[in-house]
Amino acid sequence: MSDECAARSIFAAVPHTAGTGRGVIAIERDGLAIAHLAARATQLAQLTERFREHFGMVLPDGARRVAAHGVAVAGIAPQRWLLIGEDAGEEFVSGRLALLEHYAALVELSDAYAVLRLRGAQVRASLAKLVPIDLHDTRFRPGDVAQTVLEHMPVTLWRLEDAPTGEPMIELAVGRSFAVSLYEALRESATEFGFCFEPTAKG
Amino acid sequence: MRYSLFALLRQGLMAHRGWTPAWRDAAPKSAYQVIIVGGGGHALATAYYLAKVHGITDVAVLEKGAIGLGNVGRNTTIIRSNYLLPGNLPFYEFSMQLWEGLEQDLNYNAMVSQRGVLNLFHSDAQRDAFVRRGNAMRLHGVDAELLDAAAVRRMLPFLEFDNARFPIQGGLLQRRGGTARHDAVVWGYARAASERGVDIVQNCEVTGFLRAGERICGVQTTRGEIRAETVGVAVAGNSSRVAAMAGLRLPIESHVLQAFVSEAIKPLIPCVVTFGAGHFYISQSDKGGLVFGGDIDGYNSYAQRGNLPTIEDVCAGGMALMPGIGRLRLLRSWGGVMDMSMDGSPIIDRTPLPGLYLNAGWCYGGFKATPASGYCFAHLLARGESHELARAYRLERFASGDLIDEKGQGPQPNLH
């Protein structure tokens, strides 16, 4: 029965490629466990300490993302982060509640977002048509996080280390209700460069 | 000199050498019975009605620059009386009636064009709100019609009906609404007031008030002190600055509204169309330019210019409504600084300081009010008490709770 509720593609219904070439490749990132972490007042220091002990990472104090052992944490606001687990199950949040509860509010948001990983030589050119921020190599570096607006939709972006091919890789999260409009905007911006879309097979 | 076709023909024969200045460019006297600060539409109309209705001609209009270059010279010229609330509706309808006879009254063609104002709606809820407004209008004898989508389509076939994000369900139409040639309104009132003896003093900035105890008894200006029994302030957009000279704080923020005109084209848009859901409205000027606008920029400003996000939003609204204007070109964009009041409605009232009266808070809707505002302000200045039609426009209403909030946005001026 629980199979039914396994993570599934939010994008399953959309057409998959447009244009020719592979300037922009979008891969749906499903199965991520996501939680919102907000420090309790006056508990930041303890939270940071606890977090370091448990995850082996220092909570970034700006719009940065760090990752270790399949868990990433991205600063999205003063004293607020998104905690992202790769292929993590339900326990990702519940299992950590006890651990962090005293220092932070930890709220499950795994289902709140549609997340795409974008790569390809033209990712920046394509995104430049969509978001009003500077994505230049030196301005939006690997590990940087940005929340901004994409055609009236609130989005969060973070840049990963470049692909082995040297292509930039950027992940983009949007509220899941916007997924179709986001997809359409992305496809139109990328078609001139060749757009490949790879939703999750499970869809 | 009276304006007429005959006068024009006669002057044509003598190379138009016989025309005289439309209004006297007066130098300030040392004292007047009434001083009106500001040389915009409201101030000039006030002066005119003071002279015409109340026989008070010892009046000076003091304008810091040249008359008519404030908001009255930069608005999108829409006139209408499609208001909802009883505090507003009779006032604006009276204004509409004054517009209807204005040209003959002033002997100046202000090109009042009753080509209709259509407000589009896109949902049942919006429709019901419009119907409520339309019914209020009808209760006051104002014309209002409810159009369904098919009727809107017949009237404006070039709107986006088939591919719209927010499909048009219909519209509220006031046929008597329309536009007027804004500059001509200024010049017409100036000429008519000047003819009746009013001094129009340009390049005369009011920089302070003269006081006798609590009482205001004149103004300081860049052209010297001028005394007066009564001082009326009608400086739209700058009301807070002038009030501050008298130590008053007002329920007003100054905001910028941008407006736009396209290159002139042959007639395309027969009426005024407003697309509330897309923050866009448009009409076509007699010269052929599409005159359009949208929301205010949304932050306190005295800069008389706006920024790109609003321009993008307005053009997007335009394209969402009328995808046929895509290849027409925007010719000029500009901004005006307006008094945004805390409930979106104006103030015509005495101030706590005897001798000082205020006409302010017109937001983006004061052009259409010009005749009635002048009429009622003149009444207040002449009689010391509010005109019946402007009774609701009191300063005290914010304290008492008698707000006139057509949009229900509350004390958040950038949302009105």
Binding site: A63, A146, T148 | P309, A399
Partner: protein, 88 residues
């Protein structure tokens, strides 16, 4: 206009929403005030032509409220602070 959000960096106007004069915000918080004081705080504004201290919300960014000091004649911005960290 671009506002330098202390958390997100410099961002375009389109990401922000505006509230207005920062001083009136304070008065709203102290509900213990008299009706007259509340009325003044909620409705009256200095509305200066010049330096203005005002509140903005980084709606499409980090969700922070910002205290911005700005010239209303030129739109020049002199300072931006997180409201929650503002120095009184």
């Amino acid at each position: 206009m671009r506002i330098n959000c202390p958390f997100c960096g410099e961002r375009d106007l389109s990401e922000f929403s505006y509230l207005g004069d920062a001083d009136s915000a304070k008065a709203i918080a102290s509900a213990a005030q008299s009706e007259r004081e509340q009325i003044d705080a909620v409705y009256l504004r200095a509305n200066p032509a010049g330096v203005h201290r005002e509140l903005w919300y980084h709606a499409f960014g980090c969700g922070s409220w910002l205290n911005v000091t700005r010239d209303t004649r030129t739109h020049e911005i002199f300072a931006v602070q997180l409201s929650r960290e503002r120095t009184p």
